[in-house]
Symmetry: C2
Subunit: 357 residues, 2 copies
């Protein structure tokens, strides 16, 4: 069964063995193939790619260090310089093989190199498969501000293979799973229900990844540059990104993106209950799912001011007001809801209390 998804001018292929990739490359008449990997995907995922490309004998590998803390301008300059060292011209193709760091930064590097070369995203983590594979967002962090520099540039194709998920540890799976739950919360109550019982069995996982990408694609094709509807994808992210940014600079073993977003979703579900009509029962269901699957993260009220400062630089804000996407029910989300600082702090208090329920 061909269950590919058509996004903004390109195809998302769901293929365990990347069966169509060789043909895609042959059609493109590219001068050169660059493959961006990190240390992990170089070891565990590159062999799958090489097996899928029997005709590709000549290519250049660019390796970056794994970890969100390396998705920064310094590494990006390193990628640009390596592309120059390899003599890449405007007809080169970049294959980004990795998690969000590789696909976000690789997409940004490609979209700005000689004013833009073609790139293909091959996300290898659950998180990047369900979150970064459609939408055309590229980006890097600056200091502790996430994805603050970037472009909207569509890849030429996306390849999603369940083979790569076998290489992930439980913590990485949980991180990606948070975005799946989010897609259920903002758009599809059935998906949310499924999430309650998921045990990462392969067939079930395939279906959930596909449904997640389909939901995100439905949202972003209606609003490619985030003027309106697309903002619902940011549910949990206003507070979650701040917590993630804070953790990146203070923790020796920082939170993964999904772990931070899970905390953000608890807080923002609380705010949704307080000001956007989300019922107390729905709030209870949401808190219960997250606290059963995610470990408690320790912090206290002394960091609230820092978190609020980080939120002030969130891309969704306007005129200095803090913008949120808020649920009105499980499966339904609104956007451009502006929230007072006191309620944000209250929601952080709620997280700290709820996590020990």
């Amino acid at each position: 069964m061909n269950n590919n998804i058509t996004s903004l001018g390109y195809t998302v292929f769901f293929e365990k063995e990347l069966e169509s990739l060789q043909e895609f490359i042959n059609k493109g008449n590219y001068s050169q193939i660059l493959i961006l990997v990190d240390r992990n995907t170089n070891d565990h995922c590159l062999p799958v790619l090489q097996a899928a490309l029997p005709e590709l004998v000549d290519y250049d590998i660019i390796e970056v260090d794994p970890g969100e803390e390396n998705k920064n301008i310094d590494f990006c300059i390193g990628v640009w310089n390596t592309m120059l060292d390899f003599g890449a011209d405007r007809k080169a193709l970049m294959l980004n093989l990795g998690g969000g760091v590789v696909t976000d930064m690789g997409g940004f590097a490609a979209s700005t190199f000689k004013r833009g070369i073609d790139f293909v995203q091959i996300p290898t983590t659950l998180l990047s498969q369900v979150d970064a594979s459609v939408g055309g967002k590229t980006g890097i962090d600056l200091g502790n501000l996430k994805n603050i520099i970037g472009t909207f540039t569509q890849p030429k194709a996306v390849f999603i293979s369940s083979a790569f998920l076998q290489t992930l540890d439980a913590r990485q799976m949980r991180s990606g799973f948070a975005e799946v739950i989010k897609h259920g919360l903002i758009f599809d109550k059935d998906l949310f229900e499924q999430c309650k019982t998921l045990d990462y069995e392969e067939d079930e996982l395939d279906a959930i990844v596909h449904r997640s990408v389909a939901i995100k694609n439905e949202v972003i094709t209606q609003d490619p540059t985030e003027k309106g509807l697309r903002k619902i994808l940011n549910f949990g992210h206003t507070i979650g990104h701040a917590i993630e940014g804070h953790s990146l600079v203070t923790d020796s073993n920082p939170l993964l993106h999904g772990e931070a977003i899970a905390i953000g979703m608890i807080c923002e579900a609380y705010i949704s209950h307080k000001v956007n009509g989300l019922s107390i029962e729905a709030l209870g269901e949401i808190v219960s799912l997250f606290t059963s699957r995610y470990e408690r993260y320790e912090f206290d009220a002394s960091i609230y001011a820092t978190l609020i400062d980080l939120m002030r630089n969130d891309k969704k804000n306007e005129q200095q007001k803090l913008g949120f996407a808020l649920l009105s029910a499980i499966g339904t989300c609104d956007y451009d809801r502006f929230v007072e600082e006191d309620l944000i702090k209250e929601s952080l208090d709620f997280y700290l209390a709820s996590a020990v329920l």
Copy 2:
């Protein structure tokens, strides 16, 4: 007379007092106005802008150092960080008031900040008025490679005022004038003839700037992302950019862009004569105009290998062949002409000889 030019989705206003700028800003409902200047435009051009904007009481100034050597990623990071410090959100507007460094780097910073905010180009040098005001190219240098990182992003408007040209010294005027001559050479024999006698008198200059922008606009609207025709705008730039890049890292008082391009045009006119049918008489006319107006630049054959290396990273190359735009007559230019190294070296020899004719 309204002689505005319509480009790719925006208007180029030719207005000495920037008469329409206030109305443009009012219509945009922007959260904030950022003005990017360099030290020179802060002193000499900002007062003109302020006089044109009587209703604008609140704005933030970002100042960068003038000079092509500062159009790099480090300064760009400084601009991004200053935008963050000023709390700029996605509805901020950036006014880039300056020469090519300010418009290229400001355009790049704006097009990548929070994945893109609106910007307006207000070029203040002859060079940036005739070269950078249409086309949507943004960019920064990396090392000694010019504009190697950038995007194609259209501004929301461009304002060209002859008032700013009064602030320029003779050397800056000559630098910009090289691009005017280029527009004549590649597209309009009449403009080339006019250039022979131009003495920078204001009315005549106005007409020549307008004609130059109109020519460039005609080319770029047919080929916004430089897949074909647009490459003719690069006449003189393959060799000129290499000489400019070399000068930037070796000379204490580096060549200005137009000065380097003038050298590049002599060399590439020679190559045009050798392999693209440009007559010996036309070559003579071209050499004569440039040598009468531009000083000889000293170098010798020991730097040829360095220059060729720099050309190898030119954005117009494909498959390691060096790509040129070449004249077949004055007013007519071809593109995608690939040239051997030996002929390039011969053309540099020709420059060194011609300059003492």
